[in-house]
């Protein structure tokens, strides 16, 4: 068999790669490969392409995503137009406009959302730390998520980044409001909204191995305080001259059962 035309050559290469050649044609093609260097080069090139695709797009570990699916109550999934999903947090508390929370004992009262069923769509376009800070302040510094206790807080970070995060008792005047998420270090970066003596402070958290380093524009009026904790990289962004939250962060220990059962 001799491959005459370019089109025929390409068809044979595809049939060979797809395993669609019968025994006789396969043997003939393999003989052709040995004799025709150009053909061999093309097939080798394809193998190289396929290897690269495997490196680039091999699947991640599915466990975290599958576990998230397992822990979600189908009755709480609302799918609105264009397939946006809102996990309706059916608060057991009576409707209340004000948000009440405190750390210290570590209890965070669940924000009542009975008057706010449709949470605004999450914008995951890439943004800088400074931009997120400006947006949060301009938007009234309101969190998207409020954890009901320390376990749920720790589980949120464990689920996203594989490591728990906790906040020790903070002094009077320093209080965490809740969590939000934005595409800064990665699409999963989570930030904690904290008020420090009336000043808004953000604490960004993500996996250290996903971080190439962060900075702030010199004219932003903000300061950047980094910290590495195990697998996590943490950045406190604040107009204050020193870090006021980082020292209170820790990585508490919980069992897998406790963390898996902490769901929303």
């Amino acid at each position: 068999m001799t491959i005459e035309s370019t089109g025929e050559r390409e068809s044979m290469i595809d049939a060979y790669l797809d395993g669609l050649l019968n025994t006789e044609k396969l043997k003939a093609f393999e003989r052709e490969l040995e004799a025709d260097m150009q053909l061999r080069t093309e097939v080798d090139s394809q193998h190289r392409v396929d290897e690269s695709l495997g490196r680039l797009f091999g699947p991640p570990d599915s466990e975290q995503i599958v576990e998230r699916i397992r822990r979600t109550d189908p009755a709480r999934v609302r799918v609105v137009s264009r397939g946006r999903i809102y996990l309706w947090l059916a608060a057991p508390l009576a409707a209340a406009a004000a948000l009440a929370f405190f750390f210290g004992g570590g209890d965070i009262l669940l924000q009542s959302i009975l008057g706010n069923r449709n949470i605004a769509p999450l914008d995951l376009s890439p943004k800088t730390l400074a931009a997120i800070y400006q947006e949060e302040v301009a938007g009234g510094f309101k969190p998207r998520m409020v954890c009901k206790n320390d376990l749920q807080f720790a589980a949120t970070f464990w689920e996203r980044f594989g490591q728990t995060l906790g906040i020790a008792t903070m002094p009077r005047g320093v209080s965490a409001i809740g969590l939000n998420r934005a595409n800064t270090i990665t699409r999963k970066t989570t930030h904690i909204l904290v008020m420090v003596d009336g000043t808004p402070v953000l604490v960004f958290v993500d996996r250290a191995d996903a971080d190439a380093g962060q900075s702030l524009p010199p004219d932003s009026g903000l300061n950047l305080f980094p910290r590495r904790m195990g697998e996590l990289v943490i950045y406190e962004v604040s107009p204050l001259g020193e870090a006021r939250v980082l020292e209170y962060l820790n990585s508490p220990e919980y069992s897998a059962e406790e963390l898996e059962g902490a769901g929303w």
Binding site: S45, R48, L56, I65, V66, I85
Partner: protein
Amino acid sequence: MPGSEAKADAGDAIRKRSLSSAEFADRFKESFQTLWYIAVGMVRDRALAEDVVQEAGLVALGKLNQYEPGTNFNAWMGQMVRYVALNLARRERRRRGMPLDQHDLEQFSAAPETANGADAIRRSEDGTLHADQRHFDDEMMRALEEVGDIARACLLLRTIEGLDYAEISRLLEIPEGTAMSHVHRARKFLRTRLSQASSERGAVA
């Protein structure tokens, strides 16, 4: 006949019962890899693809009563993944201020706009790549920008997941011949582009 009536009744009962959420999670896990390749083929960004697969799973969880047990679960989930991926593509196009016509959407190739680009490349277990492989993979990502999203998904499902064209056709709801054509054209395009890039770099392709 009484026996066949009983069988028919049992069959009807099976068909009418929806999947439980636990059963769905098990099926979702089994299908994860296939759904991943659809997602990452369409959006070309690993972190975004994880979000797509997770969001598609949640969408499907909310619509379990619409899935008929015994029918092709992967095809049903494939619909969800494509729907979510397309919505993300629309949002991305809007964000960039670009037109939303169907042709553009089909040709959409999202740049992997993670802050540091690290998510775009999966590293070997010891965290290193040969320099030549790194260059090749970088060129591959650039070349894939010019391959349509459905064509990329077909290519990954055939090349890495090893599905035949009939299954790809069912998953993506396109004719089998179209799936085959996508794969063959994409292969040819990538071979040619990457060989040119290697020649320009002076490396042996």
